[in-house]
Symmetry: C2
Subunit: 222 residues, 2 copies
């Protein structure tokens, strides 16, 4: 059974991605990052979900992205905007997916894994450039030139199984895979118990997904 | 004056790269990583060289690459091989340049810099895949799809000014730029004072560079 590294934030999308990877038969090594994010409750959610969904391991790496600042998610002096703006929002974290995928690549190489899963979504997303298909393709191309295992013939694949799904389709998939949706934390400013604000972009996208899927929203709001 | 992020390990190559970037007129933000490497004396060397060579700032970020293991540079149970082997050596650190460049990319975006310098070398190098021109081109392409600043028009450039120089040419350039060569630490297993072993790949490449350049080797051997 092939091993795969799965980026797991603890939100709806990454939990669904992990469940899909497990169902496809991968031995999943879940990887989370403590990067000084506001919504640290998602790290507790990630640990819970990794166990619930059958990851064979779960590791949380500390990463000093807050040292850079520049994002409402890591700089407590920048407010999280309410949903609905246009353009790339203040919650954008500089180069976040690039840093996360790079660490996943290192982890994959050491584990002898050639497959990396990420819950990026290009449909109902927040306007982040590093969630677009052309970005993910470029990362995969780079990765195959970067590491010894790839040079020696084990081709790296970046899987983003949610890339072309709507939020409603993700919700339906998550329900079908038996994910404890109340345990997933998508909110950018969840409180310490993981309860959501209901106002930020991420909350609004998620809530709309439940409405459009015709499924009662089990999110714990505060 | 444009700002540039310069990866600075504290070795001969990265010091030369920093001096070249300063000479080209960039305001240089030097970036080093404490990644659990054996040769931590290079971090002291990096701090010294950043100041000597005129970087406007120097930051050392902690990165947990040793958590992955898999390299003689970060796993104390794997011996550093003597120089002269073939293939990709045991000192290869999984995805190291990818992780370093990704962090540099985040740093550059926050600082409003579009230029990143790395001392990668494809001639007298140690056989690492992530020092090849095609790898660096692929990283640059990916970076320009990854970050907001690039999407908004400020194109990222990855500069590797040593890429096609021999070690002898790097030594001559370093001398011409006034670098305190005795303060650079290239050895993979330098002692706490930064003194070199003289035996590892990196030491042997460096020593040969001085011989071929016809310049007395000021390296502090132990």
């Amino acid at each position: 059974m092939a091993a795969a590294v799965v980026l797991l934030s603890g939100g709806l999308d990454s939990a669904t991605t992990l469940a899909m990877a497990v169902r496809e038969g991968y031995r999943c090594l879940a990887l989370s990052f403590d990067y000084g994010q506001r919504h640290r409750a998602e790290l507790d959610a990630a640990a819970h979900l990794a166990a619930q969904l059958g990851a064979v391991s779960h590791r949380t790496l500390r990463l000093d992205l807050s040292a850079f600042g520049g994002s409402a998610l890591t700089d407590m002096t920048i407010p999280v905007p309410a949903g609905g703006g246009t353009g790339i929002p203040a919650t954008y974290v500089p180069a976040r997916n690039t840093v996360f995928l790079s660490m996943a690549l290192a982890c994959a190489e050491v584990a002898g894994a050639a497959d990396i899963f990420i819950g990026a979504n290009a449909v109902d997303y927040s306007g982040y450039p590093d969630c677009r298909p052309e970005y993910l393709q470029a990362f995969e191309h780079m990765a195959n030139l970067a590491i010894r295992a790839a040079v020696e013939g084990q081709r790296v694949r970046i899987h983003a199984p949610l890339l072309h799904l709507s939020k409603a389709e993700i919700v339906r998939t998550a329900v079908a895979l038996g994910i404890e949706l109340a345990q997933t934390v998508s909110c950018y400013q969840a409180d310490a118990q993981g309860r959501a604000c209901g106002l930020c972009d991420s909350c609004q996208l998620r809530a709309r997904g439940f409405v459009e899927a015709g499924i009662a929203d089990p999110t714990r709001y505060r």
